[in-house]
């Protein structure tokens, strides 16, 4: 038996598949996803029809299977799931992903309670039921109904399978990868509380994202999330910003409190960074896994065009960052290498005449005084955007402070963006989004400083 149950889920040596092997059926699609994904572990389809599917011999019953397996993927009708779990237990399979629906999500509490009892008795841990499965892209393990994720450094745990699927689709468009993906569906057994400790120690994972509709076992959640967030950033998207008033309360305090504000307080206690939606989540996770954290709140906006720089500065200020003017001595050292038309306030406008040298030296200078920078290049076809990209890259390597970039736009900056990608520099579609990301990096820094004062006992 494997030491950690999550090794059985995420890096199984043998996977038993129980479900339909008819093309077009969900079961078949999962099997196909595992097959096309190309995981090295063995796959053993079990179906009474026998024969062969996708090149695998099909076993007619689980008891007949002689091979060793540590994970079962179950996509059978609801009524057959319980008995299958019992058989898994007998076979020594300790981990099961149950894709099948028809449990508490349709009001069938009884079936779910029975499943929980059977799984407990059989010593089988369950992800699901009614879930979209999981993925470990790093070993090409894809027991899931969703778009296969690219390998990356963000672990994504979702309460909603559909939201998870949509996120994977958008991520693929953007080239955004994942270290692990889990849709836990009805959460009859394994949920955030069980997954967080594993993901916090998972070497491929740099950032953990939770999509949450509601938490059960709240106090336990706070404890494990706090422990995880000491090790890695934990980001949450929480839907349902319901207004106050649903609570049956006798006091003012009780009546005024919204569920959402309580979640905010809980996230603060646990050291979790909250974001509003998918785009913000992608931006932030990319930055968290690629950038150093800023030591403080001071941000310089370095740009070659006024408007976009001001928008970025406005947004930075709105989000609580300090967009102070450079000191006199910094202005003096900036002045030396720049066009006489350059504006040395903040935003620092290098003007359209700037290239590699101006961006590199300006960024190096400002980062001696500021904690982070947004570098904006509003390109024209005749401008050397590749040079500007190299200037940013060299400054970033030298300073070791976060620089988030915004190169606009389209075809004329495509090559430059590739250079930034290769150097691991985050580039986002607007300066405002750069400012947002920096505000959240600063929040992460504060969380690390403050987490030890958040008491739980």
């Amino acid at each position: 038996m494997r030491e950690d149950i999550f090794d059985s889920f995420f890096t199984p040596e043998g996977v038993v598949f129980l479900g339909s092997i008819k093309p077009g059926k969900i079961g078949y699609e999962i099997l196909k996803s595992m097959n096309e994904g190309g995981h090295e572990g063995k796959v053993y389809p079990v179906n009474p029809s026998g024969g062969e599917v996708l090149g695998y011999p099909v076993w007619t019953t689980l008891s007949e299977l002689q091979e060793r397996a540590d994970l079962a993927v179950i996509s059978l009708p609801q009524r057959a799931v319980g008995d299958t779990i019992v058989e898994c237990g007998k076979k020594g399979i300790r981990a099961a992903i149950i894709i099948s629906s028809g449990f508490s999500e349709v009001g069938n509490r009884e079936a779910e309670n029975d499943l929980v009892a059977v799984a407990k008795k059989s010593g089988v841990r369950v992800i699901g039921p009614n879930c979209a499965g999981l993925m470990n892209p790093w070993i090409r393990h894809f027991p899931s109904i969703e778009v296969r994720a690219l390998p990356g450094h963000t672990a994504f745990v979702t309460q909603s399978g559909a939201f998870g699927g949509a996120t994977l689709g958008l991520a693929e468009e953007r080239g955004f990868g994942f270290s692990k993906f889990v849709s836990y569906g009805n959460r009859c057994d394994v949920g955030e509380i069980e997954l967080l400790p594993y993901l916090a120690d998972d070497p491929q994972t740099r950032v953990i994202v939770l999509y949450i509709e509601g938490i059960d076992r709240g106090r336990e959640f706070l404890r494990v999330a706090q422990t995880a967030s000491r090790k890695k950033p934990v980001v949450a998207i929480k839907s349902g910003r319901t207004q106050a008033g649903t609570r049956a309360a006798s006091s003012h305090t009780g009546t005024l409190a919204g569920i959402d504000q309580i979640y905010d307080a809980a996230f603060r206690k646990a050291g979790i960074i909250r974001v509003e939606g998918i785009e913000e989540m992608f931006d932030l996770c990319q930055a968290l896994s690629q950038c150093p954290l800023p030591q403080g709140n001071r941000v310089a906006i370095v740009t070659n065009s006024g408007g976009p720089g001001i928008l970025a500065a406005d947004q930075a200020e709105r989000l609580g960052l300090d967009v102070a003017e450079p000191s006199h001595s910094l202005q003096e050292s900036l002045k030396a290498g720049l066009s006489p038309h350059a504006s040395l306030k903040n935003p620092i406008d290098l003007t359209v005449e700037s290239g590699y040298e101006e961006y590199r030296t300006a960024l190096e200078h400002v980062l001696s005084e500021y904690d982070a920078a947004v570098a904006i290049n509003v390109a024209t076809p005749y401008l050397d955007s590749n040079g500007i990209a190299r200037g940013v890259i060299d400054a970033s390597e030298k300073c070791g402070k976060p620089i988030i970039t915004n190169f606009m736009a389209g075809r004329i900056v495509r090559k430059a963006l590739r250079l930034l990608d290769e150097a691991g520099i985050v580039h986002l579609a607007t300066g405002e989004r750069c400012s947002f990301v920096l505000s959240k990096l600063a929040e992460r820094k504060r969380i690390l400083e403050r987490i030890d004062v958040a008491s739980l006992d």
């Binding site: 003012h252 504000q261 309580i262 307080a265 603060r268 403050r450």
Partner: protein
Amino acid sequence: MHPSIEKAKEQGRHLLEPEALGLLQDHGIAVPRHAVVRAENEVLEAADGFGWPVVMKIVSPDILHKTESGGVILNIQNEKQAIDAFSRLTSLRSGGARVEGCIIYPYQSHDLEFSVGMLRDPQFGPVITFGLGGVWIEVFRDITYGIAPLSHEEADDMLQSVRAHSILEGMRGRAPADRQALCDLLVRLSRMAMNETAIQEIDLNPIFQLEQGYFIADARVIL
């Protein structure tokens, strides 16, 4: 379990105001001087002890919202007004309410009002709230929340995160709030909420700002 909570539970009611104050005091929270009076001579004795003016409120398990029920009389200046107030309050009995007596406080002049509260969330347990107090709380909803127990630093973060936090620092000639004391109140209340699990909600509203410390002008503890 605190004896007054036990007693209230047995009788199927919430805490009476004097009990709520006693509970807070037993958890190290400063409460104003007060006395429970059941007869005219007790009224006068208590008021003389505090010095005039005084405030008098009804003590009844049947009246949760005292102000709305006419159960609060402020700024009582002299013996005559005190006797009159006492009889008006005790006459609430005729409306069917059980009256255990009245509670008297010294009258506290004040400027700024805060509110501090607790509610028990089914998932996250006791949640402590802080905001500006009085009637405006319902308009501006400028309240911050913190999951109990609170450390002193977390309590201070809560004070810092209300939109009106600059008022706490003292503006336009106003004296700054006693931050230390307010933090201490939040921390102690959060500890109390962790230990006294029978309490469902707490309202300390209003709390008057004093140069040193604070004055809890009303305390409600819901079981």
